[in-house]
Symmetry: C2
Subunit: 139 residues, 2 copies
């Protein structure tokens, strides 16, 4: 199978697959006589694994580590389990940050709605709103 089919089967782009190969995430594949990359079902599985891990937010280095363990026939499961919980905690933190941010954005918008919006120099300009409301030192 050529690279396009692999891309279609895994949901990645051809570029991304070549990129993964270039950083060592995927081994150099067989080549057809004309130099084209030639993949099989086991490649599909590996690429799917990589794509899945990336979708879960794992960095390429993490995926490398897991794959290296797997390739050495060591059980990466414990490592993966730890990474899973660690990643989940990170995501949780990020969610909390974004919630604060969203609240702040809506608050500013509501505040901006309450006064005329064509006052460039006055205190009521939304621009000043950003510079004076947002940049207060944190409590």
């Amino acid at each position: 199978m050529q690279i396009k089919e692999l891309a279609q089967k895994t949901g990645l782009t051809e570029k991304t697959i070549r990129y993964y190969e270039s950083v060592g995430l995927l081994p150099p594949p067989r080549r057809l006589p004309n130099g084209y990359r030639d993949y099989d079902e086991s490649d599909v599985e590996r690429v799917r694994f990589v794509a899945g891990a990336r979708r879960l937010g794992f960095a390429i280095d993490d995926v490398q580590e897991i794959l290296a363990l797997r390739d050495r026939r060591e059980a990466p499961c414990r490592v993966v389990l730890e990474l899973l919980i660690q990643k989940a905690d990170e995501v949780q933190q990020r969610i909390a940050e974004l919630k604060r941010l969203e609240e702040e954005l809506r608050r500013l918008h509501a505040l901006g709605q309450t006064f005329p919006t064509d006052d460039v120099d006055g205190k009521n300009c939304v621009c000043h709103l950003i510079s004076t409301e947002v940049t207060k030192p944190a409590p």
Copy 2:
């Protein structure tokens, strides 16, 4: 005032201030006879505005646009208000995505806990868990 004081007053690093200048977000400042950058209070205000907008998640291009409007003495308020709500919606979407992701991570972790973690080849390996659980085609 030199760049360090400006940095302290705005909470940015000196590097970041120079970077903002290099991308046109801040105008080239006056220079002291020795070539050092020389800022005043209006620069503090502008940098604070930029920093505030960045903290709200606006891209540098957005900030450019807003500042350009302001510099042309047009009222950017309506634009800013629109951007605020647009950004808030984006953040809301991102939060939803991350929530799904966190749930998925915790689900996988719980699932991984329920069986032995040293089974490299069997179906019970967490690695297979990633490749077979996560990469299912979206329903």
